[in-house]
């Protein structure tokens, strides 16, 4: 099976560690990952902000770059959702088969115990696009429950949006901040040291709020927890 990694422009720039974790994890599970170097962006920000003519060449480029792979795996639920739900509207043809990481692990590779070790108190925010666009359900939680040493605690009002919403956070900053305050409050009520999710964009928003109030809670992408082993000192 030829598997390509779609890192996403956002992770490429701000969260390369998440991408390295995906590579480490999949290799540990015995798979070779390819990284098509011509990839850039899925066009989600442009599409969701109403700039379709700008999004279209990005969607076309995506289809060209990832053509020929059996599967594309991405550590972003919202970018995966963008490709799956909206690329055909822009390009007129079916996009390459893209899986969000937890879908790929559980549905394609058929594993839930990936041999990870992460001895920390963790709570998980199921991002809106993973929950309601991709319908990943409890796949991420099944993967996390199988992690050795983890103390996984349930997040209250987990399915409520954190208020990020891409350019929403800028256009409707006040409302976004109000939603963020409630999400941060729920996270703090869990007593978790680490907040995880399938999207670094939501984590940057929630984590930025948690950092501003000096909460001491850190954010970590699902991939980085699943890639952690007893050899790591995280």
């Amino acid at each position: 099976m030829r598997v390509a990694l779609f890192i996403t422009c956002f992770n490429d720039t701000l969260y390369p560690e998440t991408g390295k974790a995906v590579v480490r994890l999949l290799e540990r599970l015995g798979h070779t990952v390819e990284f098509p170097a011509d990839q850039t962006c899925c066009g989600q920000m442009h599409f969701n902000t109403g700039y379709r003519p700008e999004a279209t060449p990005l969607a076309r480029r995506f289809a060209e770059v990832f053509a020929g792979y059996d599967a594309v795996v991405s550590p972003s639920a919202s970018c995966t959702g963008m490709v799956r739900d909206s690329h055909e509207l822009l390009t007129g043809s079916r996009p390459p088969q893209v899986y969000e990481l937890s879908e790929f692990l559980v549905d394609v590779l058929g594993v839930t115990d990936v041999g990870a070790y992460f001895p920390h108190r963790v709570t998980y925010h199921p991002t809106c696009h993973s929950l309601r666009m991709l319908r990943v359900g409890d796949r991420p939680l099944r993967l996390l429950r199988a992690v050795k040493g983890i103390d996984l605690v349930e997040l209250p009002a987990a399915d409520s949006c954190c208020g990020f919403g891409g350019t929403f956070a800028l256009k409707n900053a006040g409302t976004s901040a109000a939603m963020l305050a409630d999400k941060a409050d729920c996270v703090l009520r869990t007593g978790a040291e680490v907040l995880s999710a399938a999207d670094n964009s939501c984590l940057m928003h929630i984590g930025g709020g948690l950092s501003r109030i000096r909460s001491g809670v850190r954010t970590l992408h699902l991939a980085e927890i699943l890639a952690a082993t007893e050899g790591d000192a995280r």
Binding site: N11, Y15, E27, C41, H46, E54, P57, T167, G174
Partner: protein
């Protein structure tokens, strides 16, 4: 006087959503009222939809029925007109709010009345009927409890189903004590804030209006093309009073409310109460077919309202918004609505459905901020009993807003310039890498201990509430190139 799109559809005195929302967000009383109220209705809805094994099939049936009816709307409307006429009613066609208001005003005058009692109705709110009647010297009395609270308070509705959701009982007590006397029977001496006492005060106040009224104005939840039967679904019995006591009944109904057959109600009378009030069944379902000699109103008029609906129907993506049955489940689950309340949307149609309906009925230029008043979280789509894909329509309308600005502005907006620059930077990995390099250099000037705090200019909106991470020294692309020289595959170079 009303404008072409009606007083209620777009409130001209309300600023764009972000600004109106700021005011609402600062109102701690409002925030508390909304959190409690939406939370309660949300839980009730989940309980009564969860108990039906075939809820998903019901939703699918509702969605299919609405979409089929909208596809053949022209035929069903003509059939409805024939059926209503055959049953002794009179059908009027109104292209817009002005026309509808004129028709109703003339009908009230023809009945020799200077006041009407009203059943809660979104269509008449949309066209600003009360204001138009007042201009003509006709008093319109709202008889739904929440609409009464809104009317007495000189207020505006903030929710489709519970228009006074932004008020708590203490505020209602104050409004009743202060205002009831000016409208009719005053509030009882020593009125408390007990819900039962408040309901009793409203009942006494309204009773004299029901008994006196010669004309009632209603909306409609549905009208059956095959039989000409019109129906109203309600909880308080005020509707039943209005629909049976007066001599003349005038119903204003959006053209999308027609259903083909009586049997279709099997689906919608299950979907609507469970989605809206979270009840298995609503207390009052009133249906009437034209005129029944010697029983109920002897003069029945049905005003069929377009007001932007035909234009909406022409949009293949946006038309699904016309399937809305006004249950307001989407409002109650919306994280944005829960924080801002309804007034920030500047329309009688607030919340997610309002954000897709208002810009379509009035034109996107009249409400350009509404399609952006959402995080696209999708909770509305999941809750919608007729499966309107609200996030899809929002994204579609955002594109229309942007296109419309492109057409009307000679110079691109600052946002368009940023978007264009971003698209150019993302066009190739080489350009992306150059942009990342300058972002990293910029961030070094701003970061302290790996954290970026408050930022100047347009990024203040972000940095006012959040710190930002400092971009790491090496992008993933760069790391891959360094660790996999000459390769696209992993595992081979190590």
């Amino acid at each position: 006087m009303t404008t072409g799109t009606g007083d209620g559809l777009v409130w001209l005195d309300t600023p764009a959503f972000p600004e109106a929302a700021r005011t609402a967000l600062a109102d701690t009383q409002l925030r508390g009222n909304l959190r409690r109220a939406t939370g309660t209705i949300r839980d009730k809805r989940l309980a009564v939809t969860g108990e039906l094994a075939d809820w998903e099939q019901l939703r699918a049936a509702g969605a299919a029925l609405k979409r089929r009816t909208l596809r053949h709307l022209d035929c069903y409307l003509v059939e409805l007109e024939e059926s209503v006429t055959r049953a002794g009613g009179t059908v009027h066609w109104a292209a817009d709010a002005d026309q509808a208001n004129r028709i109703v005003t003339e009908l009230v005058r023809a009945a020799g009345a200077d006041e009407v009692v009203k059943v809660k109705s979104m269509a008449t709110q949309e066209i600003g009927l009360n204001e138009a009647l007042a201009e003509a010297g006709i008093a319109a009395y709202e008889t739904d409890l929440a609409e009464l609270i809104v009317q007495l308070g000189g207020d505006r509705p903030s929710h489709i189903l519970v228009p006074a959701i932004h008020r708590n009982r203490g505020e209602i007590q104050g409004i009743f004590r202060r205002e009831m006397a000016a409208w009719g029977r005053p509030a009882p001496e020593g009125l408390t804030d007990e819900p039962r006492a408040l309901a009793e005060a409203a009942r006494l106040h309204l009773r004299e209006k029901f008994l006196r009224a010669r004309v009632a104005v209603s909306g409609a939840n549905f009208a059956i093309a095959g039989t000409g039967t019109v129906g109203v679904v309600e909880s308080e019995g005020n509707g039943r009073m209005c629909l049976t006591l007066p001599q003349t009944l005038i119903t204003v109904m959006g053209i999308e409310k027609v259903l083909p057959a009586w049997s279709d109600l099997e689906v919608f009378l299950q979907l609507l109460p469970r989605s809206s009030t979270g009840e298995r069944m609503n207390p009052y379902t009133s249906t009437w077919t034209g005129r029944t000699p010697g029983d109920g109103p002897q003069d029945f008029h049905l005003v069929l309202l377009d007001n932007g609906r035909t234009a909406t129907l022409a949009d293949t993506v946006g038309r699904q918004a016309l399937a809305c049955i006004r249950c307001s489940a989407c409002l109650n689950v919306c994280p944005v609505y829960e924080r801002t309340g309804g007034h920030a949307y500047g329309s009688v149609y607030p919340g997610p459905i309002g954000a897709v309906l208002t810009p379509q009925l009035a034109g996107v230029d009249k409400a350009p901020s509404l399609p952006f008043a959402s995080t696209l979280c999708g909770a509305c789509y999941d809750a919608c009993p007729v499966k309107i894909n609200i996030p899809e329509v929002l994204a579609h309308l955002r594109a229309e807003v942007v296109e419309s600005k492109r057409r009307s502005h000679r110079a691109p907006t600052p946002e368009a310039l940023v978007m264009r620059a971003a698209a150019a930077a993302l066009a190739t990995p080489r350009r992306l890498s150059a942009a990342q390099r300058s972002a990293r250099l910029g961030s070094h000037l701003l970061a302290r201990k790996g954290r970026i705090g408050r930022l100047p200019g347009p990024l203040r909106a972000w940095s006012d509430s959040r710190d930002s991470p400092q971009p790491p020294a090496e992008t993933f692309h760069a790391w891959w190139r360094r660790t996999h020289p000459g390769e696209t595959r992993s595992g081979e170079s190590r």
